[in-house]
């Protein structure tokens, strides 16, 4: 059986394809793809899913069930149903490591702290409030100002020798602050470190209550920034569990797992009804 999960976020689109054995058990990931989003969610979804399918030489018809998630989840016509990215992240992380009880997901424009129980069920969550502070967009804007790519922001910050801070609460004000400091001759490495620290502060303020004292991991694009992760661990006084899967693809993986569940539960019912 083949199951697909499609996660169309605000900045990137992700697709994961799962295969199960003959008894529809032991799902394994057989393909996964990531790309920058196109203007329309539908476009991004079709393109990324096609890419993931092409990698393993199968077509849309081979998919037994598909679930969509992410910001554009309702616009994806080839998906059978949609589940919020919050539940999908919980499901995905639990599949990779069932000992995890909480996760922090930092995406392009969302920041979420999610608590799950011992069966991987959603217990509680917190999400940022209509503002880009503490999200990937903030890092993107800041990297642009520094004239570096977003991938460099983490490694660059590790070379910092001086402790400075960016205090702006809002992404736009923080950008102005970074520009101003750059003009005054502050080193880029120090600024990169300050940006990562500011980001970690925002995230910890939201996530603290949810993640305290339980095995936690970090997912989403920003989890690839070593500077933010190190700072966050320091502020929260804990170390994150490493997961054996691309942290940016967890949402799509969770969606694919939901698709399998859907297939298990719903399709026999529908067939029965038809018969």
């Amino acid at each position: 059986m083949i199951f697909a999960g499609c996660d169309v976020g605000s900045l990137t689109a992700k697709a994961v394809i799962l295969m199960t054995n003959q008894d529809n058990k032991d799902p394994v990931v057989i393909s996964s793809e990531l790309m920058q989003v196109r203007p329309l969610p539908k476009q991004s979804a079709t393109e990324i899913m096609q890419k993931a399918l092409d990698d393993i030489n199968i077509s849309f018809e081979d998919i037994d069930a598909c679930c969509s998630t992410g910001y554009g989840r309702e616009e994806i016509s080839f998906a059978d149903f949609n589940i919020s990215e919050i539940s999908c992240h919980a499901r995905g992380v639990y599949f990779i490591d069932p000992s995890i009880r909480a996760l922090i997901d930092i995406g392009g424009q969302d920041l979420k702290a999610i608590r799950i129980d011992e069966k991987g069920r959603l217990l509680d969550f917190k999400m940022n409030n209509r503002c880009a502070a503490g999200t990937g967009r903030f890092l993107e804007i800041s990297a642009q100002v520094l004239g570096i790519s977003i991938e460099q922001l983490g490694p660059l910050s590790l070379q910092s020798k001086k402790n400075i801070s960016v205090t702006g609460q809002c992404s736009i004000f923080a950008e102005m602050e970074v520009t101003h400091k750059l003009y005054r001759g502050v080193r880029r490495t120090d600024l990169a470190a300050a940006i990562n620290k500011a980001m970690a502060l925002r995230v910890s303020a939201l996530a603290k209550k949810i993640v305290q004292g339980v095995p936690t991991c970090i997912t989403g694009g920003v989890s690839k920034n070593i500077g933010v992760v190190n700072n966050l661990e320091k502020i929260l006084g804990m170390s994150f569990k490493k997961i054996a899967f691309d942290p940016q693809m967890i949402g799509a993986l969770g969606a694919a797992l939901y698709a399998k569940e859907y297939f298990d539960k719903e399709l026999p019912k529908q067939r029965k009804m038809r018969a």
Partner: protein, 389 residues
């Protein structure tokens, strides 16, 4: 569902044909904020009209008078006043329920923005024998002010009559709320909100007659499949029907703690008291609203009881930005749920500004919240059935 359509129609606009008709016959209409003893206005032969901003699309004029850290309800409301959308009113009664509303009175007075009768009714924030005595004096002062300004006489008999009419409205609304306890309920939360908005903008006789018809029409009505997630919403001011629709996309709101909700209909005025003013003073201080100091336990208990009675699966607390009453209460509810002793159910906290979008984010939160409820409940209806589009 003609009656329901009528309520929905009335709820969409500030002014309506029933008010227009009454006005053409010379009946005066008095606008008011929050829960004031509207019986006094009715006893003066006038129509009480609860202030709203349902037609508001901007706050450009309101922004002149309000600062950035003021609540968006009075801001939108003042904007509508300055736009002339409330010119049909013959008077406005403001009460000191919160400083943002009170500021609307200040602005109107200072800037001479309100053309006719403008009155501030001071309500107490505690319930003690002294505060009730003081409130009685305030109600009497209000009665005298109306009598003097409009040259009418407000007799004890007329007040008693008005009390009985208003009690009837409350009882009918109470019957409507009883129906929400069913699974599935025959009416959605957005519809209840429309009814509440309409009932506070119609002559009471019209409202009562329409409510009676509506109650007979609802028998056997189906709005959502059995077993759908049932929610309770606790908030201060909420008038946005489309926002309720958003919450109720895959669920149904069965209980509330809203100004346009239980706080309007709970607790009848005692009709057996000799002094009707005394009865009014007691009733209007008995409402468990966050503006009352020391009403915390009462509020938590009310919410807990309602969750059980209406069999709600989850609680949504939604506060307007800069509403201190609700921000504090929200924080206390969060703590209470964390402790889990007096209140225990899934909780979703939302914050909004009146009539502003950000629908995508709210939608995600609500969907995830319903998935959380489902996960916890392990209902027989599968997640996918409920969330399929």
């Amino acid at each position: 569902m003609e009656t329901l359509d009528l309520f929905k129609e009335i709820a969409q606009t500030n002014y309506n044909r029933y008010l227009e008709e009454a006005k053409s016959k010379g009946t005066k209409i008095i606008g008011y904020f929050c829960n004031i003893p509207e019986e006094i206005i009715m006893a003066a032969g006038m129509i009480p009209y609860r202030m709203r901003a349902v037609e508001s699309t901007k706050t450009t004029l309101g922004d002149i008078w309000y600062s950035t850290i003021n609540c968006s309800f009075p801001r939108n409301c003042l904007d509508q006043i300055l736009e002339g959308k409330f010119n049909f009113l013959d008077g406005l009664v403001v009460m000191n329920s919160c400083d943002h509303i009170r500021r609307l009175y200040d602005n109107c007075k200072y800037g001479d923005l309100w053309p006719n009768f403008l009155y501030m009714l001071a309500v107490p924030h505690v319930v003690t024998p002294e505060s009730i005595r003081q409130f009685k004096r305030e109600i009497n002062r209000f009665r005298l002010a109306l009598e003097e300004h409009f040259n009418v006489s407000i007799t004890q008999e007329k007040i008693k009559e008005a009390i009985s009419t208003c009690n009837h409205t409350r009882k009918l609304l109470g019957e409507l709320y009883e129906l929400r306890k069913q699974d599935p309920p025959p009416i959605k939360g957005a519809e209840i909100l429309a009814i509440m908005l309409a009932c506070t903008a119609l002559p009471k006789e019209v409202a009562n007659a329409s409510l009676e018809t509506l109650l007979s029409e609802l028998n056997g009505r189906v709005v959502i499949p059995k077993g759908s997630p049932r929610l309770m919403i606790a908030a201060g001011y909420l008038e946005e029907i489309d926002y309720m629709d958003l919450i109720e996309k895959d669920a149904v709101v069965v209980a509330d703690s809203l100004c346009y909700g239980v706080r309007y209909l709970r607790n009848l005025v005692d009709e057996n008291k000799d002094d009707p003013i005394d009865a009014l003073a007691y009733r209007y201080t008995s409402i468990a609203c966050p503006r009352m100091i020391e009403s915390y336990d009462d509020r938590i208990e009310t919410i807990n009881n309602d969750i059980k009675e209406y069999n709600a699966d989850g609680l949504i607390v939604d506060n307007l930005k800069f509403c201190l009453h609700w921000q504090v209460f929200r924080f206390m509810i969060e703590n209470e749920i964390e402790k889990g002793e007096r209140l225990s159910c899934p909780l979703l906290v939302l914050e909004r500004e009146l009539h502003t979008g950000a629908q995508g984010q709210v939608k995600t939160r609500i969907q995830a919240f319903l998935e959380q409820i489902h996960d916890r409940k392990d209902q027989k209806v599968s997640t996918h059935e409920a969330f399929k589009y």
